[in-house]
């Protein structure tokens, strides 16, 4: 397994209150190389927090996360080095508006000395043509549509050659007509064998590309299985209820 998560807990301190909000209550799971795992569940169930713990965007309260056998929650671990190998795509893209598309893609690889500036530039072109945006290479992010921004954001995450990609609701902030172009890029990525964690509300897409589905509710994995297990044969009452709500439309 490339990532192993054991008994992961996360709680947030609430402003001005003594009690804590327990978001994750003991999650044990993992992902194999080349596997595509989708995380679904109701709002506030902790699925985004779960994803953000994997590259320590959120500090886990307790539990262990191992990347290639190395515990990334330990004090001695160089988290910047780990994050190079675990890319993340955000709901709101977060392209750097002070940099052109090209610079967005070349900043991190050049800083990490993965590539020389020349190589990074070639790699940027290659990635942009892969997401169909080579003609936007010298554009400012603010001049792109939402769908284009997200495709650039995916290319940016790929520019440091990560082993795993984390997608945090990548299509939730998009206008409906732009969702397709982003899903297409992700599908292509999934077919190329990228290891992917995907938090999503796009049930159809999750079913199509995933090897495995995690249903998270109240901070625990309440059901887990292949897409057909979960979508066609859900066992837990909560899963059945959730799916009946989201699949009805």
């Amino acid at each position: 397994m490339i990532i192993e998560i054991e008994n992961l807990h996360k709680s947030f301190k609430l402003n001005g209150r003594k009690d804590e909000l327990h978001v994750l209550n003991g999650i044990t799971t993992g992902i194999n190389k080349g596997e595509r795992v989708s995380v679904i569940g109701p709002s506030g169930s902790g699925k985004s927090t779960f994803l953000r713990c994997i590259n320590r965007m959120e500090e886990p309260t307790s539990g262990s996360i191992k990347f290639n056998g190395q515990d990334i929650t330990s004090e001695t671990c160089d988290i910047n080095e780990i994050r190079r190998h675990i890319g993340m795509v955000f709901q709101h893209f977060y392209l750097f508006p002070n940099l052109t598309v090209r610079e967005n893609l070349t900043l991190a690889p050049v800083q990490h000395k993965i590539y020389t500036p020349k190589e990074a530039d070639d790699r940027a072109k290659e990635l942009l043509s892969r997401v169909g945006l080579l003609d936007k290479i010298d554009e400012w992010p603010d001049r792109l549509s939402g769908g284009q921004k997200q495709r650039v954001a995916i290319a940016r995450a790929l520019a440091v050659n990560p082993d795993v990609l984390l997608f945090d609701e990548p299509t939730s902030a998009l206008d409906p007509e732009m969702i397709g172009e982003v899903l297409e890029v992700m599908k292509e990525l999934a077919d190329s064998g990228m290891t992917m964690y995907l938090v999503t509300h796009e049930m159809g897409f999750a079913k199509e590309i995933s090897d495995r589905i995690l249903f998270i509710d109240k901070g625990v994995i309440s059901e887990e299985g292949t897409p057909s297990d979960i979508f066609d044969n859900p066992k837990q009452p909560r899963t059945i209820e959730f799916l009946s709500k989201v699949l009805r439309r």
Binding site: N55, M57, N80, E81, I82, R83, R84, G87, M88, F90, H92, Y94, L95, F96, P97, N98, L99, L107, A108, Q111, H112, W140, D142, R143, A153, R156, A157, V160
Partner: protein, 278 residues
Amino acid sequence: MITRNNNNNLQDLQKRYGMARGDIVLAVCAVILLFLLYRSGFFTAESWADFARRFEQNFIRESRYMMLVNGLKATIFMTFFSTLLGIAVGLILSVIRVAHKGGVRIPFLNWLANCYITVLRGTPVMVQLLIWNFTIFASARTLNLQYIAILAFGLNSGAYIAEIFRGGIESIDGGQMEAARSLGLSYGKSMRFVILPQAVRNVIPMLFNEFIALLKETSVAGYIGIDDLTRAGQDIQSLTMEHSQPLIMVALIYLAIVLLLSHLIKRLENWLSRSKRG
């Protein structure tokens, strides 16, 4: 939010009275100018000739206008380099404070930065100038006084500019830092390549405002014996025994520069909000 509301109120006023903002400003300036001319004897003097004679005495004879020119040079020199020093100091202070708040463990540096800001903002800049000159550099009498002034004004404005930068940094969406960190960039590199360029761009107009503030603040430099613009006016006063004309001329010079800079800031703001970069 507050400034936006004020803007709306101002726009209402302008609509109601059918005046553009520039018109109001010009009208007020004209009234002040007329009053100043009145005080300098423009209308009350026995004659035009009298005003012209005194004007000649104050500014033309023995090339006294050169005193003002040299004073202006000193003022602009001090203001310019104080602002640069202030920006450098302010940037460092603000990054320390923001980094501390953002989880980087630098409690001692943060404590130092807080002390610095508290002390320099909590005492008058003139007192600081006097302390620099008469206490800290008391024995360094060969040092150019203007350098001491630049140090005093620059370090003082650094405390204010730190707050400007802090506001600028904190106005950047937290997702920008997360996105940079998610690529494996360190906190420092994320700051340097992603956050600060955006923050600095947002606060450029405020830095120009600080320049204007400093331009006026340096008028106390005469207290340590620097012949700045204000002091030049006073020097002419003592040469010609003339009360009004030299100081009013000094005031008009300051005002002209401030108006020019304000105009530039406005154009800059328009340009910044129109350009797509950021």
